[in-house]
Symmetry: D4
Subunit: 255 residues, 8 copies
């Protein structure tokens, strides 16, 4: 990011020559930062309401650190997803305010607790205890993005009364994230109970014909309930990101 | 089948030289009938409790007729599955007591109404109206094999209250056959409600990622309820055959 | 549905003995209607904000008509999806106010034009002219559900300037539905431009390795933009239904 | 579970105010126990005749222990399936009466030897020595559920005389569980010999085109014998559970 | 083929200047014939012992006729496989000695009945009557290539006694071709009975999870009997061609 | 395209105020034409050296005609790929200079014969006569794009001498397009003979395990020769387009 | 095996009461040996000409040793395939005459060098050096079964001259085993050169779209040469077993 | 290679008895070198313009060293691809001028820096930082083959402005190699911007439905831009080899 250009713009804002709305709009088109191994998209926060997120898989600890160093200077929150524990250690050593969650392999750094911007509660349901890591990734992401979050675990369809006992919380949620492995039936049942949107997350919990989560994925894509859309297998992060986008006020100004 | 051998055996039974049980046992090993295009397994009724069933697909009308002609001489009931309507016409013309069911493409010929031999009711549940043909194939087969049958259609998981309304009939059944396409979630929910065995039948109802029923099949194989086993896609016949085997008294003599 | 019970309830509402909110809540638990071939879920409108939708595939014209007859008595709008033209003819003859759209194979019956209930515009983007039928299914569904809808066709990624020319309309939309076949790349590019949620619809447009839309589906599930969730192949209906759920005010009362 | 409610109920039973049947029925609807990481389904024993089974994969040793601690208070038998040896060690240390079987990775805890409730023998056949672990999982499960069990190993179809030598035991069994990897042909041959139901278990024994057991699974789903239904790959537990459900007396009271 | 070069060579053979063996060897390297739409490989007979075979699928009737016209001038036998009936009609009209077999869609033209060159009998076994067309393609091909052929149909593994009744003929064969659809188990059982080579042909008979013959193919590739090798689905022609290559005397001169 | 803007620009070029290079550059950014059902990308010719090509599948005859009408006004050549014969008829009636090729289902309209701009010959090799339609699509496309083209058909690897006979023409070509179905081995063998780039086109010729061309595709992607890259199944058009891009002079000005 | 029965039979042979042929025939039906974890098929040598082979995968070292102990008493040669090195160590310690080959993971024990019983040479061709382990498994197996074996490695199709240089040895072989990974094209080219049968072995050499050998497998199943049949991926053992069956004299007595 | 034959040839060239062109042509047919485990194709440099490349996977360090020893005597450059670090160590010890690149697992040995023979720049684009290793393999290969190379990383389609910022370099390149994992959309967007050929490399970056790179592969094969062809997953080497073949002058003499 070009600080000079930014300063000049802000000076004109201060002088009343440019309105805030105009400045915000033009800042959406600021350039990225090229650090050779990456092009950091600093204005993503302006354009999309949340900064770029670092995908930890396939990057060395050094590469993650280099990208993160630039981001902590600019952003209020930095997430690193799918980060192996051994790569996380040097990062939490360098940035003590960063917290690493080993089960969902998620690192969260933030300058301050996030303000709540979401309209309602995002309810995260997980079919089984083995889906917990995915549910946690979703919950931590949704919280980092400024949402109220509740999580209910182990309410799979083979004991439907456990699910029905949560009927009120289910019907009160603004958006629902439903994670399930094996036959992936939970999103269909939940979506049949509510009119609010349901984000279905297939998990790789299972074996044999679960095909690493493909069975659950296919089930969810074929849901006979229609207020359902699906994200990638084990993608708790993406489900929460999408749920957060849904939960944001629209139009922004009057909510 | 060798009638002479059969007659001699029966004479010895009549004379008290051979008990009925011994005769029945030895008849289990009678040869088949070779009609060049097929080896008709006439003693299947003795060995398995129900005669061979003719798979109509890939056979010409003439081939089916040739096999059927031999079977109607020997058996009390003959089923032809997956029989196209144009192949069925000459058969119903030749054997007026044969009934052809066009939706499940099933032809049933029988000498007399089947006696009830099953211990309890086989309950057939279909998730949607589009699964009706598969449910009918199952119901007709189970009836032909001597079972009491009930069918409930359109009780999919997206409106779980419709299913729960049938709780009593579901809990009373001896065996359950559950047909579902799309996400194939119904067997899991049903099996979670009962202790009796559930035969799950995936159907090819759906499109796109239903992959001709594979999505439902995978869901059923991954059911988190354990009193579930699965048959081939659209195989209402096989599900009913299996349910009937389960529903038979065991040991045979004291039921 | 039990009209007596309904009348009694309404009388008590009229008499001030029951508030409207209490009545609406209790109506959520009214039973369905059993017409043997189907269990019509009449209170789905109350529970989910939109009546049950008839899936036309695998049902005979007679079955669709039987279900539809009960629904037109109760509902303000009835949709039949994936309905072949020859099955549609008797329906439009019987219900002249029903309109059949041959390309998306969608029949829409409604008592009166739908009131707009959505918060903003649902923008439907289709990558190519061949994706038009899916886009139309989405547009007609979203309109029937009470949303303002705009459609832009043939803005695929191989000529990115065509897409960028619509930047303003894209950024103004409340929800975006993006349909694409072949490589299915359009949702990623669009979602990278906005903070609002994007529903991606893979289409079966393509040949060979498009695998009937699976290539596009996989691309969309792996989108490097995170405000994306995916529905079944060619499921324009489901995408619009989900978009409409997102576009609804929440909480209902103060929007 | 609410002990007070239970005690009150039992007191009324004792006083003759409530019959045993009524009490059993009402107990079926007792709530589950919420321990945050799981919703333990304590009344599953009442509803389904066997307690919930803990799926060990994807749970930490601590999570399994927490769930198990509550279950040993309530149940007569607890099974943990797919449990890695290192997670089993602390469990067998804490509950010395628990036995861990390393090959099938199954932990069995029980208060007392199970009473036999099955009507006949469950015969478990394994095609090869490499299928032994799956056969053991089935045998241990079926025994824990109160069945007489026999196991015969290494009777694959490439030496059909080995199988035929067991003809009598095969024909005497009440239910058959048949495990096979590679081409998965054994269930077809066995089912052709008997009228009793056969549960087929594909195993992941093989390499290359066995595709981790998919080849055997597909073979079993396409069995030309019809008294066959199939469970997930390597799911010896599920096969035995299903076999046990079949083997239970029905109706319960007069067997 | 260049007739002049051929005549000169033969003249030198006649004059004793070239031995027969030398001439045969050199003829192996004669060029092909280029007719623009095809390069007819006339010396394939010399090199491989049987002329090129015309693959009928994807060629117009005119293209087949053009290729065939050149071949009937040079060869003793011409086969056209996978030829639709409407393309066969003009060919049998033009070459009355050509016979078209509609079930296997195979056209056979030959100058004279083939001499028997095979060492023993090729036995063709088909699991079901629906596999008959594939068995016929194999039988006709093997006969055209100079083998004694026997065919036995409908001896599937669900009635193993039918198969065992043919034990002697099975053990006497020089090569076995075994066709089966559905679970494709027959080749394993047969190969376990003999030491001679078995060519397994998966057929597309079946539905649902037969996946057009893939289930049978996978089963055969995973056969636990090792004297089995596999050809493409429905490839009765290729199986017979391979069987014929096996059945040929070797070394050629002293058989 | 805006003709006024174009005229003004050309006037400035004529007046020497703008150089040709500057004008060409600015024309690259002219807008597209919006005709509601499509956004016609008129400046593609400037940007990419060849106009947009109409994909005929999934478009009605009317839609194709509407797009084509605008293009013939602007372009020198228009291609419509994958166009069914019945949709082609009204187009050739309206534009008599358009030629429809039924086997490759390709329509070619052009104002005048294309000038040769390619550096060398594009050699198209097809493994079998059944691959001819794909080879023709490639040849017609490459010719329309200004290349010298030669085609050799039926030189599959099972008679390698036929291929080796073309060694000189193979080694002389500037770019090679190699189409093959079934095992798809031809590109590997050809690429091993030359240093020039080879574009491999898998075709859907084959049956059973050819999986509609996937077998050939996979073979080509795994080629042990490295001067090979692959296009979609049956995509003769794309292969020729890519070959033409390779065959163009670079840098443009000095060739 | 029952030695008494065997001795009695041999005594009768010695006394001339039973011919050798009769004795051999009756010995084919001797029973197997049941050692609980396995049913050792001792008369397989009589029935199939070679003893049972132990599949090492999925068996513990102890299980392999138990089976092997019985076999070395009865057989002249024992093979253990797919045996991990750590399981082989105790076996070679116990039976010093056993040789373990680490690359093909094959253990060979034999009493004495095998006599040559094959009619001609089995030629094993491997496309690349990385296919060597599979080629070695084939070579060792074929030698153990009494065949003359030659091996040629690294003659892939991308340098076809390397292959053609071996034309004479290729044309002289009685049976050919051709192993190839990646695109799996070598069997097609080789089979086009000879009239003798070719056993194709796909290997898992490759990455990405080689899909663990599936690409090569599919190529081989679609070979445009017809004297090819295919075995499982990496199944050098099976290929050699099949080649050996082909190479055996037939009829046995007069070769 | 036979040095005597080479010397004799060169002597005749020196004496003017043979022209350079004739000598070069004849050298194309020199034999390979047989070192038992491999047939080293020494004249590949003459035939294809670059020596054989050693595929490191599946070969022992000793095998690689043996092949490499012969090649360093003859060639100017030797590449070993997919070489594990532990196998590389002894090679770099023995040939100190060899450089091992651990991320792309590529070893490069060369006698001297490569001369630039390519016509223009090969531009390598990678969608994300995680694709860096594949991009490096491509860059190192293209450089070793005598091309000018530029690399730009982390310009994925979810932030399209980052890509558009490189428009000039993209439009200036002679050939483009575009690597992307996940949805694999980048090649379509890039190819839509240029007329030069684009080689698309799918990478295995991603998880779940990325299916190890298959999602990206399918997307690239279905690109709606036509100047794209595709190589195997993670095959940066092959992409660069193909790009280099394209970038070479043609005809060779006058560029």
């Amino acid at each position: 990011m070009d600080p000079q250009r930014l300063r000049a713009l802000l000076a004109r804002v201060a002088a009343g020559e440019v309105t805030v709305a105009e400045a915000a709009e033009s800042l959406r088109h600021l350039p990225y930062e090229d650090i050779e191994i990456a092009h950091i998209d600093h204005h993503r926060t302006l354009r999309k309401g949340f900064p770029e997120v670092i995908f930890g898989e396939g990057k060395s600890a050094g590469q993650v650190a280099a990208i993160m160093a630039r981001m902590v200077e600019q952003e209020k929150v930095v997430l690193v997803t799918r980060l192996a524990a051994d790569k996380a250690a040097p990062l939490t050593a360098r940035w003590p305010e960063a917290v690493y969650h080993p089960d969902p392999r998620l690192l969260v750094w933030r300058r301050s607790p996030p303000a709540i911007v979401g309209r309602g509660t995002i309810l995260i349901l997980a079919a089984g205890t083995s889906d917990l890591a995915v549910a946690q990734e979703a919950a931590l992401t949704a919280e980092a993005m400024g949402n109220r979050v509740e999580t209910v675990v182990d309410v799979g369809v083979a004991g439907i009364h456990r699910l029905l006992a949560y009927r009120e919380r289910i019907m009160a949620a603004a958006v629902l994230v439903v994670a399930a492995g094996m036959e992936g039936a939970l999103p269909s049942v939940v979506a049949g109970m509510v009119e609010r949107p349901v984000i279905a997350v297939p998990t790789s919990v299972g074996y044999g014909t679960s095909l690493g989560g493909l069975a659950a994925l296919l089930a969810m894509l074929n849901s006979c309930a229609s207020n359902v859309a699906v994200v990638n297998i084990d993608n708790g992060f993406g489900a929460a990101y999408m749920a957060s986008a849904i939960n944001r006020p629209y139009p922004q100004t009057n909510d």
